[in-house]
Symmetry: C2
Subunit: 112 residues, 2 copies
Amino acid sequence: MKLFPYREVKAEDAGEGTFGVKVRWLITKQMGAPNFAMRLFELEPNGHSPLHSHPWEHEVFILEGEGVAVNSNGEHKFKTGDVVFIAPNEQHQFKNTGKKTLNFLCLVPHKK
Amino acid sequence: MKLFPYREVKAEDAGEGTFGVKVRWLITKQMGAPNFAMRLFELEPNGHSPLHSHPWEHEVFILEGEGVAVNSNGEHKFKTGDVVFIAPNEQHQFKNTGKKTLNFLCLVPHKK
């Protein structure tokens, strides 16, 4: 068993194509997780991920804040306590449209 | 994309060996998730899961409340914002030791 406050994990810049986004890799393959990883994203106001797609899914839970999830049908508002499922190969983007930091969990399968 | 408030998903009794535990299956294989499922557990004060083990892992995020995670080394306290990783075949139990409902996410791989 591993048990720790999420803030103990370093928040890193989320990298290429993101703006004002940090990520904490909370549960990883390196830790011994055999199938999927838990990450926590922190988006500053106006922060966003790129509009992109990839062959793996996202399982998302909005911990705090508000924003929009963009896909080919437009922008879809979300807020604290919402669940978002992005299917493999579906175009998507997350934007913070609120005045506070937006925090969400986003889980992904390990890359094969 | 599927986007919905978690409360829209029915809270069901979590079944055998649990006491005062409800579960909402938020993201499932039936919804199209190819690898793993997201569930939200709600434990009433003194509620607990059974002390048990199984061949799959748990990836847990404590959304609200406080409690203990039990393993072969004893009880380990947790609170809002904590992360818990239970490895495959590790004995474990969750107990609500607080005065309010304990809510946590617990993700599991699909059964093969």
